[in-house]
């Protein structure tokens, strides 16, 4: 090695460097691509073969950014200078031809040549290589580990697919005479979709779309027809030389069709219709029944979301205001429009509207009925439920009409809610004329009245007197001897009678309303005692309204009706003579319970027989033909589910008629569809047969009877 010249050594070092760098890049890119492709295969199901192009791409990316192939001798010399101080920063001298150098440099070059000879070994770059090899090894381990790992999701689908025969998307079989064809679907204008053309007969189209077929034949044929749903015929119009045929038809129902050329009929193609959906209205506010109490703002915030599959052209609120009561009730209809513009016909609108009830002319006691009406761009209208907003009529609550007649009025030693309201209103009116202290006194007194009333109603609910709790608690006492005395503690915290919650005669709904009333009274009392009677007023009104409601609930109304009795025949009365009365007798016959499902059930076992190539007790054809009619009905409704099985059933029937064997695939396809059509039968009673040894049992029974008569 020492014999090698210095440039030669540097050259070989360069070659070494480049090779090692390229190799290490190759290893790293192999590692990366392996990991990526294993991940892709595991989680997304891509083929492992993708790793080859991926590896190449990564490798060339490395080369492109690194440019290792551009390393030249000077780079090597610089590297040597950095690495070996012995060369004294003068390795470049070795590259130049010695004679051309000045003397000093020649001397240095000679010296370097010897140094280089001593340090030269081709393995100085191998460290880089070993690092990349390590990376590759780690990647291989990780990748293998990943591929061993089972992805649960993937496995489930594996099992499912092993159980269910895969419904593969099959290629359509065309009639041999067709050279080319197109099916053009022009969606209706409301969908705002462009015209589309497809080259398969199976089609899916929007309701109202126009479908045009253009079929080119290899040679002239006499007629081309489309047989729709096995029933209707649509003839195609030929051009002059009878090789190009066209027809079009609006889409108005799902189903299937066949192409018939002269006498040859194609397989069944499905024709599925996408129906336009009506708009969907969801009202977020207000609630179905809103009551606006005295003092609340007389406004309703409408918050509506309207959706449609294509577009909405109009949304409005149809409102009806009812005012008055009894026979004097009046209705007034109004349409309230939203402020939004529906010109864009977007598929979804979020609408808000604040309805001012006073502006609509509503007075206390009136009710507003409204519903939202949405119309989509196919002019399909949808209405929401009816919502009710009512304003309470304080005047009516104050009326004492119902109480005036027939009730003996006893002196009331506590004020009624009505009275409290009147006095509160009076107090508010007098506020400016009386002194501050008198105002406060009166307000406080009203608060006390309110409290008395509340306690009185509270008794219905079994509530205790107010001071009760304190008494109980004081019973606990401070005597240290009683600490931990269970009896005393229990005494303090329990009531010694039945549970108050259930110890009365009211229904739960009534009790809840009573409780709500009491809450309102509480609030009113609070406001009165804090000397703000104006704020107490709404609570008082609400309490009064709830009390009135309670009164109404306990009443029953019976409408008057007219009824005329038949005249009696006194001579026949109480004779108990029934001789002329004939007992009624009725006879009904129901058809066999087998019904349509029964037929399918039998067809299933017939198919099973067919699979077994067994011999039949009876001719299987009629059963299968009837089943095929029912399957055809299903196929019209849902062609994508049942059409392929209908075709299969037709093939089976044809093969039976030709006395050839039916295909096993066809049979399983039909079986799957038929069993999907029906549900399991209901359990019905039946009689068991006697055992075969019945004579023996009979003898035994007879002898037993003789013994124990």
């Amino acid at each position: 090695m020492a014999e090698k010249t210095a440039p030669h050594m540097i050259g070989s070092l360069r070659k070494n460097w480049v090779t090692v760098t390229c190799l290490s890049y190759l290893f790293i890119s192999l590692a990366c691509s392996y990991i990526f492709s294993v991940c892709g295969n595991k989680f997304f199901g891509y083929s492992l073969l993708w790793s080859i192009p991926l590896c190449l791409v990564i490798f060339f990316l490395f080369l492109f950014f690194d440019r290792s192939w551009k390393i030249d001798e000077h780079d090597v010399a610089r590297f040597l200078n950095n690495k070996y101080p012995e060369l004294e920063e003068s390795a470049e001298l070795l590259l130049a031809p010695v004679p051309s150098l000045p003397l000093l440099q020649q001397l240095q070059a000679r010296k370097n040549e010897q140094v280089l000879g001593s340090i030269y070994k081709p393995g100085i770059f191998y460290k880089k290589l070993s690092t990349s090899l390590l990376i590759l090894l780690v990647a291989a381990i990780i990748g293998t580990g990943l591929s061993m790992m089972r992805v649960p999701l993937h496995q489930e689908t594996d099992i499912a697919s092993s159980l269910v025969p895969a419904q593969k998307i099959k290629n359509e079989i065309l009639l041999p005479a067709i050279s080319s064809f197109t099916v053009t679907i022009q969606p209706p204008s409301y969908t705002r979709k462009p015209v589309r053309t497809q080259e398969s007969f199976s089609l899916e189209a929007e309701e109202g779309a126009t479908i045009s077929w253009r079929i080119k034949t290899r040679s002239a044929v006499r007629t081309v027809q489309l047989i729709l749903n096995d029933a209707n015929v649509l003839a195609l119009q030929p051009n002059n030389d009878h090789t190009s045929w066209t027809a079009s038809k609006p889409m108005n129902a799902s189903g299937f069709y066949q192409v018939k050329m002269d006498t040859i009929v194609s397989e069944l193609y499905k024709m599925e219709m996408w129906k336009d959906q009506a708009p969907v209205i969801s009202l977020q506010t207000p609630k179905a029944n809103t009551v606006i109490d005295y003092g609340e703002p007389e406004k309703v915030m409408l918050n509506v979301v309207v959706k449609d599959d294509y577009g909405i052209s109009e949304v409005s609120v149809a409102a009806t205001i009812s005012s008055g009561s009894g026979e004097a009730v009046k209705f007034e209809q109004q349409q309230i429009n939203f402020d939004n513009s529906f010109a864009a016909q977007l598929p979804q609108y979020q609408l808000k509207k604040s309805v001012d009830l006073a502006a609509l002319g509503m007075k206390p006691g009136d009710e507003l009925y409204f519903y939202i009406k949405a119309i989509d761009n196919h002019r399909q209208e949808k209405r929401s439920d009816v919502y009710i907003v009512s304003i309470t009529d304080t005047a009516q609550l104050m009326s004492v009409d119902g109480l005036m007649n027939g009730i003996s009025v006893k002196p009331e030693y506590f004020r009624s809610e009505r009275q409290i309201i009147i006095e509160t209103e009076q107090l508010i009116k007098d506020k400016d004329n009386i002194s501050e202290e008198a105002f406060r006194n009166r307000s406080n007194n009203l608060g006390i009245d309110q409290k008395l009333l509340r306690l009185r109603y509270g008794k219905f609910l079994g509530e205790e007197a107010e001071s009760n709790e304190d008494e109980h608690l004081s019973a606990l006492g401070d005597d240290p001897k009683d600490f931990g005395n269970a009896e005393k503690v229990l005494d303090a915290y329990t009531d010694k009678h039945d549970n108050a919650e259930v110890a009365d005669f009211f229904e739960i709904a009534t009790k809840n309303q009573l409780k709500a009333t009491l809450t309102e009274m509480w609030n009113a009392e609070l406001k009165l005692r804090t000397f703000v009677p104006a704020e107490a007023l709404p609570y008082e009104y609400k309490a009064l309204r709830l009390l009135k409601d309670l009164q109404q609930k306990s009443r029953a109304y019976v409408a008057k009706t007219n009824f005329t009795t038949t005249p009696l025949k006194p001579e026949k009365r109480l004779t108990a003579d029934l001789s002329k009365i004939i007992g009624p007798s009725k006879q009904t016959n129901f058809k066999s319970n087998a019904g349509p499902d029964g037929l399918i059930r039998t067809a299933l076992s017939v198919l099973e027989q067919l699979k077994n190539r067994g011999n039949f007790n009876s001719d299987p054809l009629p059963v299968l033909q009837q089943a095929s009619q029912q399957l055809a009905d299903k196929a019209i409704a849902a062609p994508s589910t049942y059409l392929s099985s209908l075709e299969a059933l037709k093939r089976i029937i044809a093969s039976l008629q030709n006395r050839s064997l039916a295909g096993l695939n066809d049979i399983s396809l039909v079986e799957t569809a038929l069993q999907k059509m029906i549900s399991a039968p209901v359990k019905l009673p039946y009689t068991n047969k006697k055992p075969a040894n019945i004579n023996l049992s009979k003898e035994y029974f007879k002898n037993l009877k003789k013994l124990n008569p």
Binding site: G614, T672, V682, K683, P685, K689
Partner: protein, 588 residues
Amino acid sequence: MAHWNYIVIGLCLLLLAFIFRKEIKRKNRRRLAARLTASLFAVASLACLALPISITKKNTDSPNKKAVLLTEGYNKDSLENFIKTNKEQVRVYQVDSLAWIDTSLTALIIFGHGLSRQELKSLNDIPLIFHSSAIDDGVTSVHWNQKLKSGEKFSVQGIFSNKRSWPVKIALEGFHTPLDSVTIPAKQTKTFEINTFPKQIGKAVYSLLISDKQGALEKEPVPFEVIPVDTLKILLLAASPDFENKFLRNWLAENSYAVASRSRISKDKFDRTFSNFTSFSFDKITNPLLDRFDIIISDATELAALTKTEQAIIQAQVQENGMGLIVKADSIAAPTAFYAAPFTQYSSSAKQPSTAALYIQDADKPTVPLSSDGYSFIRSKPGEQPLVVDSMTNVIVSSKMEGMGKILFTSITNTYTWMLGGNNNDYASFWSCLLQKAARRTGAEQTVLITGAVPKIDEPIELLFEAPGMPLPGTFIAGDLLSLHQNPDLPFQWQGTYWPGKQGWQPALNFSDQSINWYVYGTNDWKNISAIEKTKQTQQYINDKNNVLNKGVVTQKYVPVQLPAIYFLLIFIISCIFLWIEKKLSAL
């Protein structure tokens, strides 16, 4: 040979007589007894030399008379181990060369799952030693109802033992649709039950798929037959028209049952309806009238209102002809009447919830709760079977045998509210339970029992026919005459053997008015089950044989062994030497 024997014996006797005479006549009479004895021995041994004398001996040491038979599933290791430890050479037969096995073998050692009963019989009396291979992976036991009525639950039950360290899934598939499945955890042996309600009517073969993470392990056929229910004829009697009867009548009629109902609307005036029946008059209950019906459903009041004769007719029909009687309890029930006496009603003193779910016999889950107002409970007594109970096991419907028939007593009268609430399934399962329990048994059943758990193609199958009262000398199966022989003790049983040549559903066995379908499995179906059966049969066969041996019947062989002539020659020489020396001694 016989002549030679006689000649030899005769000559020897002559010789003996001659020698005895000579000895006795000798002058020197010393040692006469010894001389005579010696002469006798000499002549006797001479005769023995001339005659072939043999004794029979236990045949213990006959080399090369053992053989090994390898049946399916044998363990290679244990076979090699056996051959290694066995010093002698043994022949090894495969199971298909059964016919060539030498019947004079002293022992046949069977490895594997064993042989079927028929194959064992062909081995005659060769003593058997059985080294069975254990079957402990996969389905080790399975059962399903091979014949069920429409609407009944189809359930496959069994035991699966899983040796793998990962779970195994067992799924039932019918008509290419997965119906139900269970998972057996890793390294466990568990019972499993897979249920479905079949949709077809008639024969079908479902399949049991056993799969693990590596894919399908087994696919076994599960053949069964669904039979349409035959309708019943029902008579409804009521003291007054009510909803309960109306709903029941309509429900039965819509399901094609023949119903005649009679509700009393005034004194001796009835409202009659006939559904799926031609109308007839039945103001009076008579025997010919009741012969038409399988079940009477009546309330206790109406039964009490019948005349004594009518009641007696009903009782006789129930007791002697097996008609069913369902009595709906009410407060006016006469406690001494035959239909009410066995049942004691009581009202529970405990506070009852206003609604109660009912538990119906054989139903999977309790019903939707029903208002429990106005029904009492029935005290359960020995001899009565509760059919419907509530959650506190208070009996609501009870049944009792009455002669050949049954009387059911029900205290519930508002089942129609299930129908009103849309719970038709609960209604159906309640009345199905009651009616089925009460129904008169009609027509004797004819059955064919097939021996063996999995009858397989190309194997003999024993068919056991059960048919009452008629001779069944033979029947035709697919054109082949199958001759049957009658069981001497049970005259309704007939037996025959058939070799099916085709797998799958067999042509129906037709006899009298019934046709019976049966299924023959392929050779590879349910391998585990048939292996277990074969193992059992082989074990049973060997046990039976051993029992016979222990009873003293000798089956081991005794062979004649010729005694070596040298002993007789020695006796002869010794005797002669004695006689010679004696002569010399006496001469001295």
